[in-house]
């Protein structure tokens, strides 16, 4: 009631004037507080007062309606004290009201009417002008009693005219969220109760359109049974909605049905199980049927058919046990063999005893002192047999075996505790595992022994070359000399000292028999030697002719070069050596800008190539020279990797270059790379091409010898690693299926390497012989190996200063 009133009051206060806004609110609060504080004690008084107040109100001004009420309220307590007092006060109040009734004073109005009357006029007067300066809508006049009288002017009925604070189209829905109006097209009401339309937005329009498009009952789900879009009727949706809210699903649903009385209720009452009927006679008379049965038993006992129970005697028990203990039937009466399960491993039988277990073994089986001691010192688990053989001369001397029970116990443990594993024992001759290699005798001839040693070089012998005729061997060494030997006798036939300081790095005979030209690389120069002692005059003259033939051509080339206008420095210079050298047999020199380490001839003997790995520019590392034209070419503009060695293909116009790790085969005609091999070596030392040109041997400093089948692929077909040190050199025999390699471990290895022309068969490689004889000097062993052109003779040169002929 009090609240209701407060609500009314608030509205009322709001509407007329905001002047008293602050005070009004205070008042209202105070009122509410007061109203709440007095619950129902003064209700009766209230009603009285209201009724009283009603009179006054009618007299009083409308504007101060609320104030009056407040007064009434504030006076409730005193009024309850004494009705007479109340009346007096009322009388006074009326007067005060009439004078200056301001809410403030009223509020302050205390117990005594005096205070009020004293205070109120001043404050009221003072306060009013401060609040309502602008809107003095009244005029003060004097009424008939001589009191002030307010005369109010006409209120302008035009809406909004007097409301400066409120916005024009203020929404009047108050303090509730706007979302309440989501379902409606308007968002509230203005002060006039007209609907305020929702401002249209794009989204709203869209959603409107969408809502129009969506068919009735659309859910966005598909019916799993039909695959059609699942449609739900309004009722169904309603049910769902209710279910989600845990409400009763439908109107017809009764959550509290009436109980159905199945067992109780009317007509179901239990009938009392007592009856007054007299006991039948049969209850007191012994059963005839039972009697009959008992008599049957008595008869059976009498006849001995039924025996009374007797506790089994000891004998019976024993008999029973005996029957249990000893088999009384054949378990295997109808035996059927079962196939052995593969997982079943039968326990291995103990091996039968050997000679050494005998009580009187042959004397050689008895342990001697050392063996006995060793056995006794051994740990028990390490012993290979758990007893020592002993000799007892006669059976009576044999003692009991102390460990018998222990052994049997251990056997028991083995039987049930030891995991069993089936091990296949290879009971074969180990010989059968070895591969069948052809008998070395069948692969003969191959070099086996050292027959001759060439002595004469000081320091290492670096290089060797067999004359194509097969009789002479040229060698070059650190002492700067080139020597020619007869391989069969070991005599030195000819020698020349080319240089004092520099070593001879490579020697190579020109591969034709009609000439006798030896090319030797020493320092940056290639010397062409014609040893006159070993060649006939005709051969010598032909050789000289060939060597000097290029001089005429050389002038031609210089002419063309000048005509071209190039002013390049010559990459090489072909010249005649000094007269002293010419005297000794050196007829031509070729000087390069780098030190050539290897020299190989083309099969047509007109071209040869030099490789100088230590050159500054990789483009000049490999040079191909034409002897007849005295021409030098660098075929590669830029070579990848450091060139190591090179060789010509024996039949095709191919040129094979080995860098440190790669081997490349170039087609000289097409001027392009034909193939690249990947031996997988870290540093290639030498390569050797099979005379057929289809297989390539690569020796490496990382102790490996690699066999490449050029038709198979670019990885090695076989990798042989039988040397303990770096391999320096490798060579194929020109005619026989042999090859040899020379290593720093001072050994040569001879292999049989048969290459079949048939593409289907792989090459067979058979190790034949390890030749030892050279000595290791300062870490270097055998430096080179060459084959006789037709015989199975190999010549090797070593760091120990000797060359050895192996036959």
């Amino acid at each position: 009631m009090a609240q209701q009133r407060a609500g009314q009051k608030r509205k009322v206060v709001e509407v007329p004037g905001p002047e008293s806004d602050g005070s009004g609110e205070e008042i209202a609060e105070g009122l509410v507080d007061g109203g709440l504080s007095d619950d129902g004690e003064s209700e009766e008084a209230d009603s009285d007062e209201e009724s009283l107040g009603e009179f006054d109100e009618e007299d009083a001004d409308e504007v101060f309606d609320g104030d009056d009420d407040e007064e009434l309220d504030s006076d409730e307590i005193p009024s309850s004290e004494d009705e007479e007092d109340v009346r007096q006060q009322f009388g006074k109040l009326m007067t005060t009201n009439g004078r200056a009734s301001t809410p403030d004073t009223n509020l302050m109005g205390s117990d005594t009417a005096k205070d009020i009357s004293m205070l109120s006029p001043d404050t009221a007067i003072e306060s009013l002008p401060t609040n309502d300066k602008d809107h003095r809508n009244y005029s003060v006049s004097v009424d008939a009693n001589g009191n002030e009288r307010y005369v109010y002017g006409e209120i302008d009925p035009v809406y909004d005219s007097d409301d400066s604070d409120a916005p024009a189209a203020a929404n009047t829905i108050g303090d509730i969220p706007l979302s309440y109006y989501d379902a409606y097209p308007h968002i509230g009401y203005d002060i006039n109760g007209r609907r305020i339309a929702r401002p249209a937005k794009g989204e709203a329009l869209d959603s409107l359109l969408d809502s129009i498009d969506i068919p009735e009952g659309w859910t966005g789900l598909t019916d799993p049974a039909t695959g059609q879009p699942l449609k739900l009727s309004r009722e169904e949706l309603e049910v769902l909605r209710k279910l989600t809210r845990s409400e009763a699903p439908g109107d017809g649903y009764d959550p509290y049905p009436d109980m159905v009385e199945w067992f109780t209720g009317k007509g179901m009452e239990e009938v009392m199980p007592l009856s007054a009927a007299p006991e039948p006679k049969r209850r007191f008379v012994p059963s005839a049927h039972e009697h009959k049965r008992v008599m049957k038993m008595v008869k059976a006992i009498k006849e001995g058919r039924i025996k009374p129970y007797q506790a089994p005697t000891k004998e019976d028990r024993e008999r029973e046990e005996a029957a249990l203990e000893y088999a009384s039937y054949d378990v295997w009466a109808n035996e059927q063999a079962q196939p052995d399960h593969p997982m079943n491993i039968p326990a291995p039988k103990l091996p039968p005893p050997g000679y050494e277990v005998s009580y009187h073994p042959p004397p050689e089986y008895l342990p001697d002192k050392d063996e006995r001691k060793a056995w006794e010192e051994q740990d028990e688990e390490d012993r290979d047999r758990d007893f020592l053989p002993q000799d007892h001369g006669a059976l009576r001397k044999v003692p009991g075996y102390a460990k018998f029970v222990k052994e049997k116990f251990e056997r028991c443990l083995d039987l049930y505790l030891a995991p069993r594993v089936r091990r296949s024992k290879l009971n074969i001759d180990p010989e059968s595992l070895l591969p069948k290699l052809p008998d070395p005798a069948e692969l003969k001839p191959f070099p086996t022994t050292n027959t001759t040693i060439f002595r004469g070089h000081q320091g290492r012998v670096r290089t060797l070359s067999f004359h194509p005729g097969g009789q002479y061997v040229a060698s070059g060494g650190d002492d700067g000399t080139v020597r020619v030997w007869d391989h069969s006798t070991g005599h030195q036939l000819w020698h020349i000292k080319i240089s004092r300081e520099e070593a001879v790095n490579a020697v190579a005979w020109r591969p034709t028999e009609d000439t006798c030209i030896l090319a030797a690389c020493c320092g940056e120069t290639v010397y062409f030697l014609v040893p006159e002692i070993i060649c006939s005059p005709s051969v010598q003259s032909l050789s000289e002719e060939i060597l000097s033939a290029g001089f005429g051509y050389a002038t031609n080339t210089t002419v063309t070069k000048t005509a071209d206008g190039h002013d390049k420095p010559a990459i090489s210079s072909w010249s005649r050596p000094s007269a002293a050298l010419q005297e000794r047999g050196c007829l031509l020199t070729l000087t390069l800008h780098s030190t050539p380490k290897t020299l190989t001839w083309h099969r047509r003997a007109d071209y040869f190539s030099t490789v100088s790995p230590s050159t500054a520019a990789t483009s000049t590392a490999i040079a191909i020279h034409t002897l007849s034209k005295h021409l030098t070419q660098h075929p590669f503009k830029r070579l990848k990797g450091l060139a190591q060695t090179a060789c010509f293909h024996p039949s095709k116009p191919h040129f094979i270059v080995a860098t440190r790790q790669r081997i490349r085969i170039y087609d000289l005609q097409l001027q392009q790379l034909d193939k690249e091999l990947l031996p997988g070596a870290r540093w290639i030392s030498d390569i050797a091409l099979h005379p057929s040109g289809t297989h390539l041997l690569v020796s490496t400093y990382d102790k490996r010898l690699l066999w490449h089948d050029l038709e198979l692929g670019n990885t090695p077909y076989k990798t042989l690693r039988y040397h303990s040190r770096a391999i320096r050199s490798v060579a194929f025999h020109p005619t026989l299926p042999l090859f040899a390699d020379a290593s720093d471990d001072a050994s040569l290895q001879i292999f049989h390497g048969k290459v079949v022309r048939d593409d289907l068969a792989n090459a067979t490689i058979v190790p034949l012989k390890v030749l030892r004889g050279h000595k290791v000097s300062s870490g270097l062993g055998v430096l080179g190996v060459v084959w006789h052109p037709s015989e199975a003779v190999a010549v090797s040169c070593g760091a120990d200063g000797g060359c050895r002929v192996w036959t």
Binding site: W332, A347, E364, Y401, V405
Partner: protein, 706 residues
């Protein structure tokens, strides 16, 4: 990407189960699990990779097959074990309430009786399977039969073991199926052949067995429980197969008196005796066929003897004709291969035959002296046909055929240092000789009785192993016995065989090493002789030379003889020692791959030969005889040459092997090396034995010389 597999749900893990898992799965205690495993013959497995198999982080040690354990789940014994457990609870509860009589009643009435019949049938589906697994069972039961009774081993079990083993022995005696036996330091090994299965077992000597603290008799008792069941079923089958009643009558009284084998009396199955006889013959013929099969199956090692087959047992057989024809069919012919290169097949020996076994001691009456082991001898003799075995009364009264004084005794087995011959007639020897009875009474117990062969027990064993009677004089009392050899060792190539003379199995290298040693000794001897000679007869110096020459000749002869042997044993050594040096020089051409030092050696040898020859010539020219030392030198040279040759051949072979090994893949090479290693170890062992033998022989020779 598939789902990530959970560990331990597939693969090898599912096949294996650890022991603790198994125990948990079966819901029994660990001892019960152990018993179950022993009964059912379930054993742990070794998975290929333990790590892959184990599901837990802690490394488990024992794995079982999951299926094995699964199969244990349905074992009826499992329920028995649970009953046992329940009973134990009941008893303990009753005892806790002080209701002793209740507890006793529970124990009496409720104790579950374990029957292992179904397990026997399950583990050994056929009788032959059971026979195959009888080795361990017999060894174990014979051990328990000889154990003293303790709290761990109740006398009941011992008695049962004794009875079962004796029953088994009776069967072997009856069918003569014992084949071999061997006296070892551990005990006596026996081998019988039943239905083609060789059964080998070990019986300890009759001494109180020492039982250490680390022997768990509960485990052994479990095994014994199973084995007794097995053996009793096997015995039943064996007895019924030859028409005997099982169990045979057991005379407890005579057993107490020490009757042993005689305590059991075999009964022929009652009902129709004729049918029984038929049965017996049928089984015997079966036996015949069986033994024939056995002979084919077994690969015996003893030398076949040329004993003529006689039909001695024809009288005993009811159906003469049949047996005769069978005899002719069963005698095996000896196959002699004509080509020595051909493979020689092992031929069955005559021991593996019931008929020969039954006849070996048939005609003898054998008496066992008091110091001999009665039980094994009685068993073996009876199993090999001896019907009349007597023994001293101190060895047990009942069952003995005769007393020591019996005239019928042909052999007496004694194990004493020596027994003196009957003392020459001291007082009334003649009279003694006249009336044997009286003489026997008066005769001293330590003296031999004339008309008997006295032998040591080993004679019996060696005879049965050889399949024929051995020379009795070798086994006379007090004599040094020949070594007793195991009949099961089969000599393999390269292994030492004590039955073959040393010379036949020595390698050439060993022979030469031995020779070198010998020569040194001989030379010393020769020097000594020379010194002696020169000392003795200084004037007649020629005689010393002559002696030396004779010695030289002798040596040369010996050398030649050795060389012939060598040629037989090794093909490579073909050259005579006289031209060995020359041959070595010639050989150069044939052998391709020498290195130079080898050649040098050859050259050296050749030059030395030449030098020797030169010296000889010189000596001749000067008129002096070649010194005896020269001969030794020559011989030494020849030996050196041959040695060099052999080492060269060996080296070449080694080189060849190395060459071939180079071409092998690594895995294969490793395997090869392993095999070579193990072979080398065996060879080494054999070599040690041979060296010892040689030493012994030489020592013996010296002793004999001295």
């Amino acid at each position: 990407m598939g789902r990530i597999k959970k560990k331990g749900t597939s693969g090898a893990t599912k096949n294996y189960i650890t022991r603790s898992q198994a125990v948990r799965k079966l819901q029994i205690s660990l001892p019960d699990f152990r018993r179950l495993c022993i009964f059912k013959g379930i054993y742990p497995r070794e998975p290929r990779s333990k790590k892959r198999v184990s599901t837990s982080s802690t490394p488990s040690t024992t794995f079982y097959y999951t299926k094995d354990i699964q199969y244990l789940l349905h074992e009826p014994l499992l329920n028995k074990f649970r009953d046992q457990k329940a009973l134990a609870k009941k008893i303990s509860k009753a005892l806790g309430r002080n209701e002793v009589s209740d507890a006793a009643r529970f124990e009496k009435n409720l104790t579950p009786k374990l029957r292992l019949d179904h397990i026997i049938k399950e583990r050994y589906p056929t009788f032959v399977d059971a026979l195959r697994d009888l080795d361990d069972a017999l060894s174990m039961l014979f051990l328990f039969a000889n154990l003293p009774s303790t709290e761990n081993v109740p006398p009941k079990i011992i008695a049962k073991c004794q009875r079962l083993t004796m029953e088994f022995e009776h069967y072997l005696i009856r069918t003569n199926s014992l084949r071999k036996s061997f006296l070892s330091i551990k005990g006596i090994y026996y081998q019988a052949t039943i239905q083609g299965q060789d059964i080998l077992w070990l019986v300890p000597y009759r001494f109180v067995q020492r039982t250490g603290g680390d022997v768990d008799f509960r485990i052994m008792a479990t095994f014994v429980e199973f084995y007794t069941t097995l053996l009793s079923f096997v015995n039943f089958r064996l007895y019924t197969s030859i028409g005997l009643v099982y169990p045979p009558r057991f005379d407890a009284k005579s057993e107490e008196q020490g009757a042993e084998l005689a305590a059991i009396q075999l009964e022929v199955q009652s009902g129709n005796a004729d049918a029984d006889m038929q049965d017996v013959t049928a089984t015997q013929t079966n036996e015949k066929a069986q033994t024939e099969a056995d002979r084919l199956l077994s690969l015996p090692d003893a030398e076949p003897s040329e004993e003529p087959q006689t039909n001695g047992d024809a009288a005993a057989e009811p159906v003469d004709g049949e047996t005769e024809t069978q005899d002719t069919s069963t005698t095996l012919d000896q196959f002699a291969s004509l080509d020595p290169k051909a493979d020689t097949l092992l031929q069955p020996s005559l021991t593996a035959d019931a008929s020969t076994a039954s006849k070996l001691f048939e005609s003898f009456t054998i008496f066992l002296s008091r110091e001999t082991p009665r039980h094994p001898l009685e068993f073996i003799l009876k199993a090999f046909g001896c019907k009349r075995v007597g023994w001293d009364t101190s060895l047990g009264e009942p069952g003995a055929y005769c007393s020591e004084d019996d005239k019928r005794i042909t052999h007496q087995i004694v194990d004493r240092p020596d027994i003196p011959l009957p003392s020459p007639p001291l007082t009334d020897g003649e009279a003694d000789m006249e009336d044997g009875e009286g003489g026997a009474v008066v005769r001293k117990s330590n003296e031999r009785v004339p008309g008997r062969t006295y032998i040591q027990p080993q004679w019996v064993w060696d005879s049965i192993n050889a399949g024929q009677l051995q020379r009795a004089d070798l086994y006379a009392p007090g004599a040094t016995l020949p070594p007793h050899l195991s009949p099961w060792v089969k000599a393999k190539r390269g292994e030492y065989d004590p039955t073959v003379p040393l010379a036949e199995q020595e390698t050439a290298a060993e022979v030469e090493a031995a020779e070198a040693e010998e020569d040194e000794v001989d030379e010393e001897d020769a020097d000594d002789a020379l010194a002696e000679a020169s000392e003795g007869e200084e004037i007649d110096g020629v005689r010393g030379d002559e002696e030396a020459r004779a010695l030289e000749d002798e040596l040369e002869d010996e050398d030649g003889g050795m060389d012939v042997e060598l040629a037989g044993s090794e093909d490579e050594e073909e050259d005579k020692p006289t031209d060995a040096a020359a041959g070595a020089a010639d050989d150069d051409g044939d052998f391709g791959g020498f290195s130079d030092n080898e050649a040098d050696a050859d050259v050296d040898a050749a030059t030395r030969a030449a030098r020797d020859h030169q010296a000889e010539l010189e000596a001749e020219a000067t008129g002096k005889g070649v010194a005896a030392g020269k001969a030794g030198d020559k011989k030494k040279a020849a030996r050196e040459v041959s040695q060099a040759k052999r080492t060269r051949a060996e080296r070449e072979e080694l080189e060849d092997v190395e060459r071939r090994k180079m071409m092998m893949p690594r895995r294969k090479r490793k395997m090869y090396e392993k095999m070579v290693y193990s072979n080398a170890r065996k060879d080494e062992e054999a070599e040690v034995l041979r060296a010892k033998k040689r030493k012994i022989e030489k020592g013996g020779g010296k002793k004999s010389k001295a």
